[in-house]
Symmetry: D2
Subunit: 336 residues, 4 copies
C-alpha cells in the first residue's frame, strides 16, 4: 500500500538516535544501512535500530537496497555528504542546519542544482501538529491579514560548553528554528532584523562571546512584525509557544505536558503536569511526521516541503540577528 | 442621592460580624443600633462597627432612627424576633434560614401576612456576581431550555461538633443554599428529591446521625434534573461551582482565588493561587450586594427579591432530602 | 518482535467498522477472517479491511490461521457466539455489553468457567489515555482516599428510535460505560444505587418508557459517593469528563477538541475548537489500545484486564439504576 | 477615620470624566472645585460630579477648602499648571504624561525641587490589582532573578487622526505606559532600546510619520531583556497582558472580560465573554486606586509612589524608542 523506501541512516549520534527508531517504525521506510566511518559505532547503532552496519561511503551509495539517505551526522560534515550523495543520485533528508556558513551552504545549493535529487531539510517543527494547525488556520484566513507573530523557545538547561562552542552561536543554533517556523507561517522573509542578547545563566557562554538569553525582532515586507524570545535555561521545562495576530483575530498554541489531568490541591490550584522535558519529548511526533513527508514526497515524485533554499534563508536571517545583537543596529539579511 | 436607612443590627456573633462592617460601608445605610440582650456584647460590637449598643428590644423598636432591622441572631431566635419586629412595622432583613422546622416557619409567614412589612431572607449567594451572571444568561435564553443544573459546594473543614448538633443536619444547614440557588436559576421547584449521604471525615458527625458528604438529585416539573454535591471537607479550599446545561449550550462559573496570576514553576505547571478560603472570603461581595438589594427595595417600595416563601420552600426541599437519604427512597417536598 | 495473532472478526456493522481497520493497523495482529452469516456482507467488509470472507462458523473456528476472535456482532448474538468460540478453545475479545439480561450473561460466565479461554470485554473507555491517567493518579495515592467520583457523558444527538428499542434502555446502553469506568477507578462496586430519568428531547424515546436524560448516584461500600449524568442530546458535541475527589486533592479530565488552538476573536474570546463529534472520534485511540491490551494479554499468557465478571457487575448496576428510576427508591444491585 | 482632602479637579475632558466620579466616590476625598478657564464647561462638569465651578486659577488656588489639585487638562498645559500649583504649595496629582518634551519636563522637575509639594504622576496601570500582584510576587522573589519581561498592549481601534497628531507619537503616547510598568516591576531602567514600527491599519497615521504597530526591546543593566508589543487595532478588544520570567519560574496576568462565565456552544467551545472594551473599562479600578494612593500619601505625609522622575525616565525611554524605530539602531535613553 505505502511504497517501501530503503533508507541509509548516516550518523550514530544524538540525532541519529532520534531518526533510527522512527525509520524502523514507519511502514513505508525500511532501514537498510546504518553508516559511520567508525565501524564499531555503526555496529552498535545497527544492533539497536536494525539495518546493516557500513563504514564505507562508496559501498553505502552503491547498495541497490538504499533508495534514499538520511543525514544525521555532525553539522560540519553535512555539505560534504550532500555533495557525495547527490552525485550518487539518491534522495536526501538532511538534519538542520545545512551548515553554519553561507559560503558552504551555497556550495550545497550549487551541487543540488547541478545534480538535482529530491532534498528535504529537517525543519521538524513545521511538522508538529500544533504548529501546523496554527499555520493552516492562518492560511485559511481565520485571522485575516497577519500583523504580528511571536515565538517562545526556552530550553530547560544550557548545553555543555563544548556544544556551545561548536554551535555557531545561539542565533544560528536555536533561533534559526523559530525563524524558519515563523517565516513559513508568514509566507514571507524579513527585510531587516534587530536582536539583543545577554548572558545571565552560564558565564562560560558569555566568555565565548555568545548569549544564553535573546530577543529578536523581524520586520516583514508586508509590515508585519515578528518577535522571538529564546532562553538557554527555563526552570519549568521546555517552553514552546506561538502567537499569531491578524486584523480579524488571534491564535495561540499551548505547551505540551506529561499528562492531561487538571489537578487541585492544597497549595497551588489549579495545577497541571510538568511540561514535556525537552525537544526529544516535545517534538517526538514531528520527527516522525517529517520522515513521513519525505517518504510521501519521494515516492510520489513531488518536491519535499522544507527545502535547501529555506535552510539558506533561515541561516542568513540568523547570521543577521547575531550581527545586530553585536553591533546594536538593524541588519538586512544577505539573501544572496 | 441614595436614601438613608437607619439600621438596627440584631446579634453580635459570626454573621453579625459579616453584616456590621458592610452596613457601615454602604452609603445608603446608617448603623444606628447594635442589639444584644447581653449589654456587654452589644457594647463590644457597637465599638467595632458604630451604632449605639442596646439590650432592650422595646427600646430598639421604639427608636425613631431605626428604619429597618437586620436579624443576624442564632437561628432558633429568628421567628420570635420576626414576630416582634413585624408588629413594630419595620422592614426586616433576616439571615437564613428562617428556622429549622416548617411549623415555626409557617408561624413567621402567618405573622408577615397579618402585619405585612418588607421582608428579605439572606440568601446571599443569589447576589454573588458570578451566580447572578449565570442566572441572567439562562434567563436571557442563552442556553435555550434548561435540562440539567449542577452545584458543587465543598467546605474547607468541618465545623465544631457543637455547631453540627445545632445545625439541623447537613441538608438543612448547607445544601439549602444550593437548593435555593438552583431553584432560583431554574425558575421552578422539585416535585421529588433523592439524596444519599455518608460520613467519611469526622466520626463525631456520623455519631450524630448526620453526614459530611452528600449527593442530591432534584426532579423538576419541566423534566430538568438537578445535581448537588456537598462535602464538609475539601483539601484545596472552598470549592463553589455551578453548571447549567440547556438544549442550546452550557454555562459554568469558576472558583475564586487569592490572586489572578498564572504561575509556572518546576513542579506543577500551570498553577494558580489557592481558592478563597471559605464563605466569608468567597462571598464577601454577595453579603454587601444583598444589603444593597434590601436597601433598594425598601427605599423604592418594591418587594425584596428573596422572600420568606423562598425560605420555606428551600427548607421543605432540604427536609425532603434528609428524609430521602435516611429512608432510601424518593421524597416529595411538603410545600404546604 | 510483537508475536503475531491471527484474528477472525465477527460482524460487519458499526462496531466491526471500528475494529477492522485497527486490527489491520496493529503490528501484532493480522486480520485473517471476516465473518458474517450473510456472505455478501462478509465479502464487502473483507474487501475493506483485508482478511478472507467467511459465512460458515465451523469453517471459521476450524481455520488454523485464526488464533483469536473479535466479536462485534449485534448484542443479542454475543452469548451464543461466546459459547461456540469458547468450545473451540480460542481467545475472545467481545464488544460490550455481554448481553442485556443477567440470565444470559450467567450462561456465558458458566461456559467460560467450563471451557476457560482468555476473554476480554470491550470496555474501551478504560483504555483511553486520559481516563487511564486519572485512574493511575488515583491509584498512586495522589488524592488520598477517594470520596467522590463524577462522570459526564452527553451525546451529540439521540440515536434512531429503532436503536433505542433494541438498546435495553438508556442505563443498560450508555450509563453502563460510566458505571464500569468509575467502579474500575474506585476499585469497588456500589451497595446501592439511586437514579432519576426524564425525557426532554425525543418524545418517541419517552413513549418507549425510556429516558434521554438521567442522573445516577452510586453509594460505595467505603462511603464514597458517585454521580453520573447522561444526556442523549448535547448541542456542543460529545461531552466526556471525569472528576475524582479525595481527601488530599481533586483530579479532572478535559474534553478533546478538533484542534488545540486557542482562538481570540471579536465575539467570544477565548474560544476553542469544537469537541470531538462522538465516540468514534473521541475514543478512536481507546479502541486501538483495547485491542493492544488483548494482544498483549493473549500473547503473554496473562488474563486480559476487562473481564466477563466486570461486564456482569456493570449490567447488574445498570439494571438496578433502571429499576430505581422507575420505582423511585434506592436499589441494591444483584451481584449474583 | 479617613482624613478628608478637599480636591480641585482641573479639566473637564475625557480624563476629567474618569477622575470626577472617582473623587466623589472616595470616602477620603471631597470634590470642592471643578476648574476650566471656560466657565460653561466648568459648570457642566460640576453639575455632573459635584463641586463648585471655577474659571479663575487664582481663585481656585486661594480657596482654603482646596487641599490638593488633580490635573486632568490637555498634556501641553500640564507643566504650566504644575508650576502654578506648586507655587501655591498644594499637593498635585497629574495625569500622565508630564509633557512630550524632556525640556519642558525638566522645567517642572526644577520647579518641584524649588517649591517641593507632594507630587504624583498618574501612571494608573501600576495600581491595577493584577499588575500590582505580579510585581508583588516578583518582589517577593517568587520567580528568583528576573530575566525577561513582556507586555502586550493592543487597543480596540485607532484614535481620531487629530488625537494622533497631538499625541507625540505612538511610543510617547502609548508605549510609555508599558515602559513605566515594566521598569517599575523590574526595579531598573534600560541602558539601551531597540524598536521597530509599521503602519498597517490607518494610512493617515503612516502619513504623519507615525506607527500603528510597534515592537520594542529594552536591555536592562542586569542583563534582563524586555519586550513590548503595541497595536492601535485589535479585533477582539483591549488586549492587556504581562509575562515575567525569572530563573525560578514564570508569572502571567490575564485579560479581563465582561463576565466570568465559561460558555460551551455549538461552534466554538469553550468560549469566554468579550474582553473589557478599552482602558476606561479595563482600568476602571486602577484610577480609583491611584487616587487612593494619592490620598494615603498626602494625608500620611509620605511621598506618593509614582514620581515626576519616573515620568521623566519613561519619556526619555519612549523618545529613545521613537528614534530607534526611525534610525534603525539601538539608542541609549537620555536620563539627563
Amino acid at each position: 500500500m505505502t511504497k517501501q523506501l530503503g533508507i541509509a541512516l548516516m550518523g550514530t549520534g544524538r540525532m541519529a538516535h532520534v531518526y533510527g527508531p522512527k525509520i524502523s517504525a514507519h511502514p513505508g521506510l525500511s532501514l537498510e544501512v546504518v553508516y559511520n566511518p567508525r565501524r564499531s559505532s555503526a555496529e552498535t547503532a545497527a544492533a539497536q535500530y536494525g539495518g546493516r552496519p557500513v563504514d564505507d561511503l562508496d559501498q553505502m551509495l552503491a547498495d541497490p537496497r538504499v533508495d534514499a539517505v538520511v543525514i544525521a551526522t555532525p553539522t560540519d560534515t553535512h555539505v560534504d555528504y550532500i555533495l557525495r550523495v547527490a552525485q550518487a543520485g539518491k534522495p536526501i533528508y538532511c538534519e538542520k542546519p545545512l551548515d553554519q556558513t553561507l559560503a558552504r551552504v551555497d556550495q550545497a545549493l550549487a551541487a543540488l542544482k547541478e545534480t538535482p535529487v529530491p532534498f528535504m531539510l529537517g525543519f521538524n517543527r513545521r511538522f508538529d501538529p500544533d504548529n501546523a494547525a496554527l499555520r493552516a488556520a492562518v492560511r485559511a484566513g481565520e485571522i485575516g491579514r497577519v500583523t504580528m507573530l511571536m515565538s517562545w523557545s526556552r530550553e530547560p538547561a544550557p548545553p555543555p560548553i563544548a556544544y556551545v562552542r561548536a554551535s555557531g552561536g545561539y542565533f544560528v543554533d536555536a533561533t534559526i528554528h523559530d525563524i524558519d517556523l515563523l517565516c513559513w507561517i508568514a509566507g514571507e522573509r524579513p527585510v531587516e532584523v534587530q536582536a539583543a542578547g545577554s548572558c545571565m545563566f552560564d558565564p562560560e557562554i558569555g566568555a565565548e562571546g555568545d548569549f544564553d538569553l535573546t530577543m529578536t525582532t523581524l520586520k516583514m515586507p508586508s509590515g508585519a512584525l515578528v518577535h522571538i524570545n529564546n532562553s538557554r535555561y527555563c526552570s519549568y521545562g521546555f517552553d514552546q509557544r506561538l502567537e499569531a495576530l491578524g486584523d480579524r483575530g488571534m491564535l495561540q498554541t499551548e505547551n505540551h505536558r506529561d499528562d492531561p489531568l487538571v489537578r487541585w490541591d492544597g497549595t497551588r490550584t489549579v495545577a497541571r503536569a510538568p511540561l514535556k522535558h525537552f525537544f526529544l519529548e516535545r517534538y517526538d511526533q514531528s520527527f516522525y511526521n517529517a520522515l513521513d513527508e519525505f517518504h510521501a514526497a519521494v515516492t510520489s515524485g513531488r518536491a519535499p516541503s522544507a527545502t535547501a533554499e529555506d535552510g539558506r534563508a533561515a541561516l542568513a536571517i540568523a547570521l543577521a540577528c547575531a550581527r545586530s545583537a553585536k553591533e546594536g543596529r538593524a541588519v538586512a539579511p544577505d539573501y544572496g
